[in-house]
Amino acid sequence: MTTGAGTHSSALTADRSPLSDSALVAAARKGDMKAFERLYRLHSGKVMGLCLRMTRRRDVAEDCVQQTFIRAWRSLAAFEGRSAFGTWLHRIAVNEVLTHERNHGTRAESDGEAVEDAQAVPMESHREYDAGEVMDVERALATLPPGSRHVVVLQTVYGYSHEEVADMLGIAVGTCKAQLHRGRRLLRERMGLPETSDE
């Protein structure tokens, strides 16, 4: 999985605890809120990045991050450690985003819908990002329709497999592959990159 090495890595490092996630989770499960706060400090950046790219709205993304950690706290007893804590958090975050979209009328396109018809809504600018190519890809990503954007974000930015993404989003693996294909094609168009033979 891609690990972020963004401009805030120093802040993250300052917050980083020598304790492993599993030790912090074990302490948090016993009710240690300080341990849970450390987990928040360690993981909130990636959860925020995921929510922001999926929702394209900072206020909504922050609500989703808050709800993700609140739900994680309430469900800590059910966390069995089969996956990494970060992965578990991301699953909760994706659920929060999808729930928000359902409740507010935003919906991922089905296979048959033409992604080209999707409205291009540029993501608000982030002071974390520099101008230039990164900004271009960020903006292009924000113009993707939700179905493709979710898949592209989860796969290419957060490194999840087709199967994991399909499971997180509650879609078929085939749909996931199709959405990735469409998303990449749209990104190329919008970034002015030449198409490839398989896209």
């Binding site: 963004g6 016993k30 928040y40 925020m48 991050v65 808050q66 990164v134 896209e199």
Partner: protein, 196 residues
Amino acid sequence: MSEITKGGRDPLDEALASLSADVRPERDLWPEIHAEIAKTPILAPASRVQTTWFRLAATVLLVVATSFTTYYITRHSVQPQTAQNVEPLPAPVTPVQPASFSFGPERLGAGYMNARAELDKRFQERLATLPAADRAKVEKNLADIRHAADEISATLAQHPSDPLLQDLLMSTYQSELQLLANVSDLPSAGSMRTDL
């Protein structure tokens, strides 16, 4: 799969790889999260054993509540007839003893034990009024159930985390309680099942 740059990578992949996975929230969200979770003390993960015993306790409370209601109603409707038709019988030759429960229901606390004792008391009272043949069948069935509970609980004491044994023991306790409740709730006249 794609247009390759001089560096050997697809420019789209390079652009996507340059995105940071970390995006810090503009404000610290922790105070609000903390305020919310402070209202929700985290629950310790319930073990299967605890869950099993809580299920059993809930079953017992339901059985006791139901049988008390039935007992109250039937007592007032059939008591005069019972007093005329049934002579007091001697106590059972072999007193029915509760299972020893080496892994037993005492774990459920005094409330459960009192309720169970009350059910057992009413069972004994009702059993004493049954015809000898019916009483013998009930006693035999109950002895079989309690013998099985003893064996299972002894095995469970050696393997306390075995979910199959836990389920089996709970099911056996439920059978025992059901038999106690059924006999306690029997009307004084009429046939009864002893094959429970």
